[in-house]
């Protein structure tokens, strides 16, 4: 495991400790919704903290929806990565068949609902890019991927969004739930 070489500032240390104290229980809750075993769920939470500590500078205030959302996304990703490591599916097939945390539809009957229906990998990258405002280069280490792979993931996520919206536009069509 490669850890960041730079020493964090005292404020980053405080931020990490606050995130750890406030969110570790929620992170375990998220991981357990994806992974059946407690040990695996704790492993996912640990992996999420490794990612969080490496990207502390990119986070907002600890007690804000964006940080909470970030923590949830990263934990979901690490839990799904554990599942993926044991799957026989190709990485792409696995991505397209894994829902992650179930969330209610926002109810706009359009783009937001379509985004909520996406497989977890697509929803996560769209949220990191368009809700959190991170660049592809910033997202890459968060997800443990190369920037080129993140760009491809974004392209596939948008194509999947279009597909859902097209199906909704069909006269008797119904959106595919991945």
């Amino acid at each position: 495991m490669l850890y960041l070489q730079m020493l964090p500032s005292p404020s980053e240390k405080d931020k990490f400790e606050q995130i750890y104290t406030l969110y570790r229980g929620l992170m375990f809750y998220i991981a357990r919704r994806i992974l059946p075993g407690e040990a695996d769920a704790e492993d996912a939470v640990h992996q999420a903290f490794v990612s969080i500590i490496e990207n502390l500078k990119k986070n907002s205030e600890v007690r804000c929806p964006k940080t909470r959302s970030y923590v949830v996304i990263i934990t979901e990703r690490k839990a799904i990565d554990i599942l993926r490591s044991r799957s026989r599916l190709s990485p792409e097939a696995f991505e397209e068949s894994t829902r992650g945390v179930e969330l209610p539809l926002p109810g706009d009957g359009g783009l937001s609902d379509a985004m909520s229906r996406l497989p977890a990998a697509y929803r996560e990258v769209l949220l990191l890019r368009y809700y959190h405002g991170y660049t592809v280069r910033e997202i890459a280490p968060m997800l443990g991927r190369r920037p080129g792979a993140v760009q491809k993931l974004l392209t596939r996520a948008k194509a999947a969004l279009r597909k859902i919206l097209e199906q909704e536009d069909e006269p008797h069509g119904k959106a595919t739930v991945f």
Partner: protein, 55 residues
């Protein structure tokens, strides 16, 4: 061939905000999620802190 749905960055930002709000609203408050972590987990977190020279 039907018209392809179009969405720009502004539409994606608005949709992502709604999706994130929906995601967060479906989860319990952090204070409501209690779990006693294993000794192994606590050791790994301690090791992570040490890697950053916080100790």
């Amino acid at each position: 061939m039907g018209k392809q749905p179009f969405f720009d960055d502004a539409a994606l930002q608005a949709a992502a905000t709604q999706t994130a709000e929906s995601l967060l609203s479906s989860l319990p408050a952090p204070s409501a999620c209690q779990h006693v972590f294993s000794e192994l987990f606590l050791k790994k977190i301690e090791r992570l802190r040490r890697r950053y020279s916080w100790k």
